[in-house]
Symmetry: C2
Subunit: 301 residues, 2 copies
């Protein structure tokens, strides 16, 4: 098999899939009437504003490995992105990271207000579980409940929420490399992992195939975070669409502060190759996932 990464083709596909995911969320998060309409306005602001939609892409293309009905995969992709968007809304709050800018736009609590932003996050998380539970996601209840179980594990106290807590207290502890890797696995790795295995769950993949997806997700997630840390150091706020230089300002230990820029860059490339190696079993079908590994390491925002 010959494979080569084509950045242009990939960019077009990522854009197209992002559009699919956004449209699916648009449908699944309908506009509301009544005096409480501002809740759904905030929910839609947080969810529909844009973003690369990396997690939906992963869900869609792991599902494609197992010939899952794209309509089902798209619902799962949308649910995952809802959880990601909720986490951004809550993480950006004044009591947490206190960020004003996200995806180049005012954050949810700046655009709306703090109370509405908290509730919008709550509503997004709740809706994500509802979408997974609804019949349209898969005909088998056992598949849907497996999705709910794995999402809640990835997003909860031992996953994303616990990772954010760890991140908030990180400046009080001098985290070493292992602890930073653990923080990353919990905070961003959990949801990336769920996105990667969700296609396998939908497609009733073998344990062997699921393990390969876990391996890919693990290395991809770690590479993703190392590059995030690199971009925080090397890019401007304007290029990132979110505040740059934050980690250093807060005196936070990161992969980059511990390894240095050059080593971190190398490490990200090693992880990219490792991630791709897990995909051999899926042959050509996994090319979109190989592309993503290249993109994650090459990206500049």
């Amino acid at each position: 098999m010959t494979y080569q990464f084509n950045a242009e083709t990939f960019a077009a596909r990522l854009d197209q899939d992002a559009e699919f995911a956004t449209r699916a969320m648009d449908t699944l998060l309908p506009i509301d009437n009544g005096p409480e309409a501002r809740l759904m306005e905030a929910v839609r602001y947080a969810a529909l504003l844009g973003g690369k939609r990396v997690r939906p892409y992963l869900a869609l293309h792991t599902a494609a490995l197992f010939n899952v009905d794209p309509k089902c995969a798209l619902r799962v992709a949308a649910a995952i992105e809802m959880v990601h968007c909720y986490s951004l809304v809550h993480d950006d709050l004044p009591a947490m990271d206190d960020d004003d800018l996200r995806r180049g736009q005012p954050t949810c609590h700046i655009k709306c207000d703090e109370a509405t932003a908290i509730l919008a996050g709550d509503a997004l998380l709740t809706r994500a579980f509802e979408v997974l539970a609804e019949d349209g996601t898969h005909q088998d209840a056992s598949v849907r409940i497996e999705l709910v179980k794995e999402l809640s594990k990835s997003a909860g106290a031992l996953g994303m929420v616990g990772g954010q807590m760890l991140d908030l207290v990180a400046h009080q502890h001098d985290l070493d490399m292992n602890e930073i890797a653990r923080l990353q696995r919990m905070k961003t790795g959990g949801l990336i992992n769920f996105a990667c295995i969700s296609g396998g769950i939908l497609g009733k993949a073998s344990d062997h195939a699921l393990n390969k997806l876990h391996g890919y997700a693990h290395d991809l997630g770690l590479a993703f975070q190392i590059v995030d840390d690199l971009l925080d150091v090397t890019q401007s706020t304007e290029d990132l669409g979110k505040r740059a230089g934050k980690d250093e300002e807060q005196g936070k230990a990161t992969f980059v502060s511990l390894m240095g820029v050059e080593n971190a860059r190398e490490q990200a490339q090693v992880l990219r190759d490792q991630a791709i190696a897990h995909l051999d079993v899926f042959e050509e079908k996994a090319n979109p996932l190989r592309d993503m590994a290249h993109f994650v390491v090459n990206r500049v925002s």
Copy 2:
């Protein structure tokens, strides 16, 4: 059938069931290690501090109508109370109702800090879905997914979260009686309704039986809120264990401000009797639910 409410017997049973629910949550929300331990400390503070545990009681005793395994019912009861506790933690935040006191103790963000409280709420909500999804809750995946679906509906933008949004903007609109009833149905009614039908879902109840439970939950929920509004006016902060006189202070329209104390009291009694009338079909077995209707209207805190 002769039935009479015995306040003392009921109080003992409510206490005992509250203890069961608290112990179940204690087990389901284990203490954590590592630098992120404060997250689970906050989660446990919010969940285990006490409270009447009205919703777990409803879940346990509607499940008993259908001879559901009490171990399964207790997991559902605990999940519902986790959602209730998360909603209290978020509603108490400075950006929302800004309350310092809950169940006679400092609220979660006072005891811990605001960021931790937000994350503790998020973790509780996520864990509730996980508990419902886990195998121990029911052997049939279709039953578990039905529970997830109904909980997310009750707790989301068209239920509890939407109701809280409505409550926050209520002072900007002069709500009439219908709008207040709608607010209540969403904000507190949704979760009470889920608690009441959860036993029916676990027990694969007929549509007829589920409709009766819906009817009971509707009238009970409304009575519960009217009495809440009454207590806010008539009781002290000390007796309530939370800030009293809040509604009037905020110039908020409530059942009591629109109907007056005497009419509100009468209305609560009418609703109690209506709630009880829905239970005829369950005969003696429903006595614990009849008791709850009496208690809700008689309570002084």
